[in-house]
C-alpha cells in the first residue's frame, strides 16, 4: 500500500493527531494483512521529530525492528530523511 502523506497533512508534517490516524487506520492494518507499506513524502517540505515518532514508533515497538523491511520511505528530502533516521535509530535503541 502506498500512502501519499501530502494529501492528508499538507506541506509540513507536524500534526501528531494526523500521524496517529495514518498509523492506526492505514499503516498497521496494511502490515497486518502482510502488505508492504510505502510512505510517500512527495510535496512535504519538513517534519517535526514528534510527527515522525507518532507515525512510526509504535509500529516498530509493536511489530519489532524487522518491520523496517516492510516499510519504505519514498520521496523524502534530506531533512525528512535525517529526522526519520533519528527516530528509527532512537526507537531501536529503546525497544
Amino acid at each position: 500500500m502506498e500512502i501519499k502523506l501530502y494529501e492528508t497533512i499538507g506541506d509540513f508534517a507536524g500534526n501528531k493527531d494526523l500521524a496517529r490516524d495514518i498509523r492506526v487506520n492505514k499503516i498497521i492494518p496494511s502490515l497486518e494483512k502482510g502488505e508492504e507499506v510505502i510512505l510517500n513524502f512527495e510535496g512535504i517540505e519538513s517534519a517535526t521529530q514528534s510527527f515522525i515518532h507518532a507515525l512510526i514508533s509504535d509500529v516498530i515497538r509493536k511489530k519489532g525492528v524487522g518491520v523496517l523491511d516492510k516499510v519504505y520511505f519514498k520521496n523524502c528530502n534530506i531533512t525528512i530523511q535525517k529526522i526519520i533516521k533519528i527516530v528509527t535509530e532512537y526507537m531501536q535503541h529503546h525497544s
Binding site: 501528531k16 514528534s50 515518532h53 523496517l68 519504505y72 530523511q81 526519520i84 533519528i86 535503541h93 529503546h94
Partner: protein, 322 residues
C-alpha cells in the same frame, strides 16, 4: 496579583521581572508599567495576556493602569490591548508589520495553528531555510500545550524579528497544569526545577516511566528546541510553577557541543520564584548564527548516538528510502 512591565526585560535579565511578580492576592490582577520606556521580550507580553485571560475566565477584577511610556504604541501594535478587550486610548497609524513581528495570538487547536503558521510565513519575509527552525519551534511548543498543559486558554504566542541583530525572539505561554504536574504521573519530583530538567532531557516524558516515551511522545521536543538555541549561542528559558531554567549564551570561545543532560549545559536556575500556573517558554534565535537545519539534525543524532555508545554494540536496521 501584581505585575509590572519594567523598563527592560529580556531573557538575559528576565529574573528580576519574574521575581517582582506578586502572587499574594489572586482575587485581583493589577498591571502597571514603567513610566518612561518599556522594552521587553515578546514572552513578557504573552505572560500579561495569559494572566488577563486567566483572571477573566474566573470573573476576577483586572486593573490596568494607563500606560504612559513613549513606547506604549508597541503594545498596541502587537495586539495586547485588542486581545484583552482593553481600551488603550491610543490612536495609531498601523505600520506594515511584515518583517517585524507576530502579534500576540491565542491558539487553541490544530486548525488555528495551521492557519497561524500560514499567516506568519509571509509576514517574516524569510528564506525557507531560515524559517524552518522557527516553524519547527512553534509547531512543537504549541502542540506541547495542546497535549500536556490542559490549558483552556490554549497557547499564547508572540514573536518579534530584530533586523539589526538578525534575531527572532519567540514567546509561548500557557495557563495550564505546569511541567511538574504534567511529569508527576511518571516522574514525581522534589521541585519544579527538577521537573523542568527532566522535561528537557531526551527520552523522558511525563506520559510514561519508560525511557524513549510512548507511541505519542518521544520526550525529545524540548530538547530539540533548547538545542536550537544552543547552536545559535542564544538564550532559552523555561519557567513553570516556582522554577525556572535558563540556557545561557554559549561563550564564543567554547566549541559547540550538544549535551543530553540540561544540567551539564551553561545554565542558571531558580526554584523559589512566584508561582506561575502553567508554563512559559522563551527563545532567542540569531538566524545568522543558526546552523542550517540539516546540519543541526546531524548534531542531534550525534548526541543520541553518543548516549547509546557505551550501552550497546548492536547494529541498527536502516530505513529504506526509495
Amino acid at each position: 496579583m501584581k505585575i509590572h512591565l519594567p523598563n527592560s526585560a529580556w531573557i538575559g535579565n528576565i529574573d528580576r521581572f519574574i521575581s517582582s511578580f506578586d502572587t499574594s492576592d489572586e482575587s485581583i490582577l493589577e498591571i502597571t508599567s514603567h513610566k518612561k520606556w518599556i522594552s521587553v521580550h515578546p514572552v513578557v507580553s504573552c505572560m500579561i495576556a495569559g494572566l488577563v485571560l486567566f483572571m477573566k475566565k474566573q470573573g476576577k477584577k483586572i486593573s490596568f493602569k494607563k500606560m504612559e511610556a513613549r513606547s506604549k504604541h508597541y503594545f498596541k501594535r502587537i495586539g495586547l490591548f485588542d486581545l484583552l478587550d482593553l481600551d488603550s486610548e491610543m490612536k495609531i497609524t498601523s505600520h506594515e508589520s511584515a518583517g517585524r513581528f507576530i502579534q500576540i495570538t491565542r491558539i487553541t487547536n490544530s486548525k488555528e495553528l495551521d492557519d497561524f503558521i500560514k499567516e506568519i510565513i509571509p509576514l517574516l519575509h524569510m528564506e525557507p531555510d531560515k524559517f524552518e527552525p522557527i516553524r519547527y519551534i512553534l509547531e512543537e511548543l504549541v502542540r506541547n500545550v495542546f497535549e500536556h498543559a490542559y490549558s483552556e486558554e490554549g497557547a499564547i504566542v508572540c514573536a518579534q524579528y530584530y533586523q539589526q541583530s538578525k534575531t527572532i525572539r519567540i514567546g509561548v505561554v500557557d495557563i495550564g497544569i505546569g511541567i511538574r504536574e504534567s511529569m508527576s504521573g511518571a516522574y514525581p519530583t522534589k521541585d519544579d526545577v527538577e521537573a523542568i530538567s527532566l522535561a528537557l532531557t531526551p527520552g523522558i516524558t511525563g506520559t510514561t516511566r519508560k525511557i524513549g516515551g510512548t507511541e505519542a511522545n518521544a520526550g525529545a521536543g524540548l530538547f530539540f528546541i533548547k538545542s536550537l538555541a544552543k547552536i545559535s549561542r542564544d538564550f532559552f528559558m523555561l519557567y513553570s510553577g516556582k522554577g525556572m531554567y535558563k540556557l545561557l549564551k554559549n561563550p564564543k570561545h567554547k566549541p559547540l557541543k550538544l549535551i543530553a543532560n540540561p544540567l551539564e549545559d551553561h545554565f542558571s536556575s531558580k526554584d523559589k520564584l512566584p508561582f506561575w500556573h502553567g508554563t512559559v517558554v522563551a527563545i532567542d534565535l540569531c538566524l545568522e548564527r543558526t546552523l542550517d537545519f540539516d546540519a543541526f539534525l546531524d548534531l542531534i543524532n550525534k548526541v543520541y548516538r553518543k548516549g547509546r555508545k557505551d550501552q550497546t554494540k548492536k547494529r541498527y536496521k536502516r530505513p529504506k528510502f526509495i
